[in-house]
Symmetry: D3
Subunit: 236 residues, 6 copies
Amino acid sequence: MKRLLVVSAHAADFVWRAGGAIAHVTAHGGEALVVALTYGERGESGELWKEAGQTLERVKAIRHQEASQAAAILGAEFLALDLGDYPLRMTEEAVERLRAILVDFAPQILMTHTPQDPFNPDHPVAYAITEKARQLAAGAGVASAFKTIPPPEFLLFEPHQPELSGFVPNLFLDITPVWEKKLKAMEVFASQAYLQRYYAERAEHRANHARRISGRKGIERAEAFQRVLPQVVDRL
Amino acid sequence: MKRLLVVSAHAADFVWRAGGAIAHVTAHGGEALVVALTYGERGESGELWKEAGQTLERVKAIRHQEASQAAAILGAEFLALDLGDYPLRMTEEAVERLRAILVDFAPQILMTHTPQDPFNPDHPVAYAITEKARQLAAGAGVASAFKTIPPPEFLLFEPHQPELSGFVPNLFLDITPVWEKKLKAMEVFASQAYLQRYYAERAEHRANHARRISGRKGIERAEAFQRVLPQVVDRL
Amino acid sequence: MKRLLVVSAHAADFVWRAGGAIAHVTAHGGEALVVALTYGERGESGELWKEAGQTLERVKAIRHQEASQAAAILGAEFLALDLGDYPLRMTEEAVERLRAILVDFAPQILMTHTPQDPFNPDHPVAYAITEKARQLAAGAGVASAFKTIPPPEFLLFEPHQPELSGFVPNLFLDITPVWEKKLKAMEVFASQAYLQRYYAERAEHRANHARRISGRKGIERAEAFQRVLPQVVDRL
Amino acid sequence: MKRLLVVSAHAADFVWRAGGAIAHVTAHGGEALVVALTYGERGESGELWKEAGQTLERVKAIRHQEASQAAAILGAEFLALDLGDYPLRMTEEAVERLRAILVDFAPQILMTHTPQDPFNPDHPVAYAITEKARQLAAGAGVASAFKTIPPPEFLLFEPHQPELSGFVPNLFLDITPVWEKKLKAMEVFASQAYLQRYYAERAEHRANHARRISGRKGIERAEAFQRVLPQVVDRL
Amino acid sequence: MKRLLVVSAHAADFVWRAGGAIAHVTAHGGEALVVALTYGERGESGELWKEAGQTLERVKAIRHQEASQAAAILGAEFLALDLGDYPLRMTEEAVERLRAILVDFAPQILMTHTPQDPFNPDHPVAYAITEKARQLAAGAGVASAFKTIPPPEFLLFEPHQPELSGFVPNLFLDITPVWEKKLKAMEVFASQAYLQRYYAERAEHRANHARRISGRKGIERAEAFQRVLPQVVDRL
Amino acid sequence: MKRLLVVSAHAADFVWRAGGAIAHVTAHGGEALVVALTYGERGESGELWKEAGQTLERVKAIRHQEASQAAAILGAEFLALDLGDYPLRMTEEAVERLRAILVDFAPQILMTHTPQDPFNPDHPVAYAITEKARQLAAGAGVASAFKTIPPPEFLLFEPHQPELSGFVPNLFLDITPVWEKKLKAMEVFASQAYLQRYYAERAEHRANHARRISGRKGIERAEAFQRVLPQVVDRL
């Protein structure tokens, strides 16, 4: 029974990149919390702004509703920090809020974006905030003056252009059993039909990779992740 | 119940670098096979050559006896290919013999040296032989004209000077429960008392690292490995 | 009017990975020559070996026929060196044969596999043969005792698992105008229906990447390449 | 007819590193705009400070005059943001000013310094400002709430100590036809005679490299650049 | 007679990581100045906080006393900037204070932490402050408007988990002659007995590495460093 | 009084790349031995082949004479192995001959080419032969059955296109005092006047770099090297 914390730069990122992992954790009785640092209201809501008379508040409200609904389908709670996008800023306040959430939720697994992304100004900032908050929440592995949590596993999820973002997956998760949930969660974002298809195909490609790597024939859909810290195990 | 294949460039390498992992696998009912490509008879048996009238055959016999005994303590089978050391050569025959062993033993886990080592001419060759044999044994993940095995996990064990060999551990194994066995296996190599102490201390250092990474207080001895291929899992 | 030389480790590689580029060159009045180092008769013709009484010669003949047909659809000439696969070997003869072809054909563009591929024992060898032949054919940029050609541009094509093969694309080619030809060439390999779909989807994904990188809306299918040597241009 | 935007940390950088490229673009009917983030008034104007009674304002005025004159020789417009040097600071205001310039000028090509430079505190900051402004100006390739421009090509120019700054050129530009202009622009900086000679020789060395890479004998002077983003082309 | 400046993120770091180097310099008549950016009062003083009624000021006072005593044993002066830990912040003031110290002390050798450390939020910030201050203090190697010092050699000391912090040693210092002083300095930190043993063993391991690299048998204890900038020598 | 061994792929490489270092060692009473693996008779003697009726033996004789003369000017002994160029081959015999030379000469410093060079097929092979011979000559730092020498320092010299060959200098040698000797040695290769000028200018550029790195104003000519193994020192 694991607790998973997903830090999403914009409101929809968690669905495309980690929807299967979230559904997996909750399907096995775990808890998942999605923290969206921003709604992506300026940089990734262009379709909504095509409506005449659109306002910032209304765009945020729509994005909040969509993301909450998608999270619910995946069995996760959704929390929006509304820090402002394009650009998202690395501030002490942002780090502190996320640190407090980390200490409170005490996840076994933490996920976010890659530290590089030449096609998105906010994803690397989301990484920086998360990485700093993680280190402050877990301490340096020695006794400290403040409350710390056991260090969570730290995973990066797949960016849109993996090679150009320095992403090298070292963990493939078989999401075949929860695929229908991810599909439904993606369908919530009705205005982004192309991405639904893109990530559906991507899940099949990653499954093909995973089958070749492992020899396990039954994998039909997979998600790719990059584990940042060493695993510590008591069995090989 | 796993099968573990360890490819050791010289007769003693497997004890210092993977003794705990071997003992772990066999302690849990698995099988371990150690393949020593050479006896290290020329490059790493200097103490034996200090005896007057020493011969190559006698050095090899001593090394065989020691390595077999150490393997037995760890619960593993020991097989020596006797390919000749300093230099070990990357030949088609070496690759073919190891490929056949791989197909026959069909391990779930395969371990060997790092591809770089500026202080050992044979370790990178052991890697090259193992990597080629692994790829031929497992095929490219598609149907082929020859018998293939499911691709084993592929781990590199810790070299003597990790940073200079490009070794970045991403897997720490808690070997606390089997520590006594590793210690006994190391003691077999009586002439290398210094290394016994070195690797005993190293196991404590790696345990310290593993405790800080994971927060698990009970780890007293650990071994470090670098997983080469992505993990494929069905649970986070 | 360019001359393009594609070095393919096995008989079908060039279609999946560079079919669009080949069709492009020939559609613009250029010449393309595909050199298959092997037929992939052992490692990548498993479907054919399922037929009772199958023989090596017959497998090679079928592969030759298919690859020639696919090359013809793309407008390219097909030449098979039949060096033997799984493992393909880096020999002086292989290098010398390819060097002679390079000097004779004098391509402006040369393409082959990536130097790393953890899931294919032959692709890195194809790279090594090609890289050595290229250097011998072009010389070191100074006068020499043998005939040299102007150094061709050197491109790597996309491997099956790009990130794990160290592939970082720095060139996207819009293959929209020749897509039908690539599709037809892929259909020649009837027993590999899955790969047809995989690479058709991949072409759309790479087009999506290329659109985002360049802002050019009209790109519907693309191929990704990694240019190895600097470009030398007389206009930005 | 291209538009080129060059972001120069200090007033003279653009001449040594990109003078040929600028002259090339303008010689072919394109427009070039040089944005100097600072005058280099503190860190790189030491010769001027040797005059008794020198003032900051006067140093800036001299640097402005010199840089404007050099830009004019190259056919470029010169704009100084006067953000203060040693240290140049990465501020939201700096990013926003450059973003606005980018959206307004809408260049097809954008050039700046490398992200690393162990011998200059301001060059990496100039990169950081430019990279953030670029991403905000171009968006993430999807519709957004603000005006975006088609993503420009992004080039880094040659730093003073290339290898120590992680610079690996992948683009050589033949500047032979515009060499006289670059030479004249360099001569404007009368107090830096050594650098005139240094970069004149460097242009010949890069031409030597370019000739060896390409086989084109006619290249007598060249500039080296590192293209950061993939090229998207419709012809090989 | 060298001057050595050591920048330590927290009060005790300099002892474990550079105690031997400091004692070496002072034993040969040089001067050493330790600048502790923080006391590590929150993140690395947990033992002290176990006392009932503990206060921040008292923790800092104890840490100040211990660090001063350890520095004195090594022959160094100790200066605490008290910038606040967990998190240490990269501010203009911090950079300016360290720059002024650098210009004033004009060290030939400068040491600090690695730019990466996944298990300590403050070490990379200490690096960033030091690196910026170093560049501002030394200028870009050309005449400038402010006082500069000859560029010091720049060394990184060994982090707790070297491979995970990107540390690759390229300098081993034989600290055998000053070992007793380092041991005594470590003993000052009575509450951290484990680390005394850890770094005592580490010194022996690094000596083993240094003996193998150099063939010098007499090295019994060593410290490892990574030199960041090229050496400039007038003899090989 | 040092012994320096320089392994040169072709007959002239050592002059351009290490002439200053050689002259330095011999000027200080040390010994230098240049081992040319080949004469560069096919790949780098094109000017000689322009003479009518030229023969391989005569080309080799001329190259032998020139290289011997240049070595003599630098104070070094010259030994040619005549292994054949374009391509130079990595054979056991080549390694064994160089290993024997290493054990016999027992240099404190060993120099050769970089492991990568996209514009020269023989330079990486020269590295591979040298690296293997070095490891066999020095052993793994433990007692062995054969005679070993103390491990020499291992330096790579500057390739023609440094960045494209992965060369990152970490050692600059001031060759000002021996510059005249290097110049004379270069002039021996009369047919390569361009390279004389190229490397004379390069020596000034590297001196400029070295001055900026170190602040030492007196450096007028320098050579750049990459030290491969850590330094082991007993003084900072």
